[in-house]
Symmetry: C2
Subunit: 444 residues, 2 copies
Amino acid sequence: MTENDSSERPHVVIVGGGFAGLYCARSLRKAPVRITLIDRRNFHLFQPLLYQVATASLSPADIASPIRGILRRQENVQVWLGEVVDVDPEARTVHLADGASVRFDYLVLATGATHAYFGHEEWAEHAPGLKTVDDATAIRRRFLLAFEVAEREADPQVQERLLTFVIVGGGPTGVELAGAMAEIARRVMPTDFRSIDTTSSRILLLEGQDRVLPTYPPKLSLKAREQLEGLGVEVRTGTFVTDIGEDYVVAGEERIAASNVFWAAGVAASKLGSRLGVETDTAGRVPVHPDGSVEGLPNIFVVGDLAQMEDGEGRDVPGIAPAAIQMGKHAGRNLARDLRGQARDPFRYLDKGDLATIGRAAAVARLGRLKLSGFVAWILWIFVHILYLIGFRNRALVLLQWGWAYLTYHWGIRLITGDPPVRLQRARGAEGVGSDDAPAKEDG
Amino acid sequence: MTENDSSERPHVVIVGGGFAGLYCARSLRKAPVRITLIDRRNFHLFQPLLYQVATASLSPADIASPIRGILRRQENVQVWLGEVVDVDPEARTVHLADGASVRFDYLVLATGATHAYFGHEEWAEHAPGLKTVDDATAIRRRFLLAFEVAEREADPQVQERLLTFVIVGGGPTGVELAGAMAEIARRVMPTDFRSIDTTSSRILLLEGQDRVLPTYPPKLSLKAREQLEGLGVEVRTGTFVTDIGEDYVVAGEERIAASNVFWAAGVAASKLGSRLGVETDTAGRVPVHPDGSVEGLPNIFVVGDLAQMEDGEGRDVPGIAPAAIQMGKHAGRNLARDLRGQARDPFRYLDKGDLATIGRAAAVARLGRLKLSGFVAWILWIFVHILYLIGFRNRALVLLQWGWAYLTYHWGIRLITGDPPVRLQRARGAEGVGSDDAPAKEDG
């Protein structure tokens, strides 16, 4: 086959190198197409473990892998680093932030979702969310700095506020963050500090609905709550947050003094979905036909968290990694069927279950109708996640690191990078703890 | 022993948690003192391997370890996160950036050195140096982005400029950076890209003196040069840089078009040295007595790269890790001798040799009068560095990662974090490659 043949192949543009986009590209490895995969980042992120970066248990490189590396043997793929900001379905063109544009014969949109503040964008500054590697290292910095500042703080009231951590949202991310933070504060940190007792840290998990993990079976919600409380997390359900500021959060009627608020409450689909000219749902997702394509645009597929897809039984497919993988593969298969002149297949969602981990050796899991909790569920969680870290050089390293952390109770990745002194200064400045108080403490 | 006894112990303040400060603190573990170790960062950095983070071979967490963790069992140490900006020898007080101040009975200054531009601070923007973790991730971002931007670039002249990497300074850091970059461009990257041939990248190493590694024996300089050239590095000695801009560097008479210039040429001691009221040398180092203390200030020690110390034979102790470790321990011992009413010992430098690595399986080494190069030196390099990663949980992990990289030729940590789209846009914008050119390439 000559160069020429290959350039005359249909051009498939995939936007987004998450689970959906990546598995779509892979499923087209033998198809007679040219693929351009465009992503803002040069790496695929294993998002289910992102909270472990936020809580200093894993390093970014353990859960991120360069997209080029993953696809290097697939010769019909070209990877572009760039940010797609607009789609023109008529002209079959996507536009990039840097002014470039790319024509496509088929488009697969897989740009996912980000966290959303339900119209309270001003909360973003005080309550960072968790969707990207940079989000995770920002949360890690904040979490670790709280202890550093508290160690140097003389005022017990301020110390208490610094050591109060509030997680808003009791879905899997919130549950996993709260569990990991409680465990680190209570079991890993104590020997590191001299002035503060990190075991007295308060970890609060706030959830608006009447139970944590609302999409899981009620029995597992209860187990999760018990396990969280066993780690010392204060779980408050039926509690809505009405305000968040620099040093506080208002939950229901109560104002909680807390320097550290983390957001795990809402997601909104990528804005690119709104550029297709079809009406999106309240979360900004694009409704798709059972074949994965958009109404009136048979050559445009939307997959993953950006798609509103029915599972074949009238329910929406959930926004989780296994669903994104299935949708990505399905779109790729249908695209290949098109090229062979075959009819497209409808999407059938294979529900593999749910899994959330709570701290060091506890988890809850649903596998079909089987429900598990505790250590058995945690072992299952380990295996599933190691299994899915496919394409990552680091599978063995992650397992080793987990084993090490499990055996020794020490977390090694507690680095505060970026610019800590500024934040440190601000935190102190806000309290009026200035140069006059500090020496008194030091010399006292 | 009661709380009271302990608070009446002499207060030793150590500023800086690098090799010198950390080993000083450790050497005082049994001394009847209270120690406060203050650092701007919460982690100790294994600086000899920093270039491996800059070239995406190791992750920051592999070579950095929280200071608290290292010292957690040493109960007479309190660790503070903070930036010391001034010293008042009369009042025996150090002042922090956030307004706090701390009184000391003994002070050990171990704030090291940073890179310097010989009065050309305007070069810093275009030619980043390598002293901190953030420096390393910034260089990594720049290095990796060059290939990403080149892959999307249509103009061959611009591509060539993007794939020209210039390292200024042929000391150990420059040699190690150049070797690692050449190897990655030629042996790791090729299969990842479709439009560019990364093996055609140019790596230039510029050195003002007449040989690379000028502090090593001439024979090893020659070996290092041969090994670098074997990897495809263009080595230019006797070449002074007179200007650096956004897309070029002027070396001697020649203007080299290069988008990526890295600085490994000069170091200057921490500015804190100038606050002691004694005259510093041209590099900003503080002259110290053989006992480690400063002229007229017997209770202030200066150790590590900030100190100008003689080795007992009229030569300056070099600014390398083994020397910093020895000075740190020596100051700690003398401080303990003071407290026991014993006379202080003079410093004796034990020269353990020199080691620099060049790429995957080559290095040069001097051990006393023994000189080694090639694979044997590289094996020695591996062992010495693994050995010195003491106190790091990651010793096994780093070895595993090196072994893996050696066997597979794949580097896994090629993450571009931070904000790549901005830089990408600027690089293209500067060339005038706009929206009108790009589709032509894409569709052509």
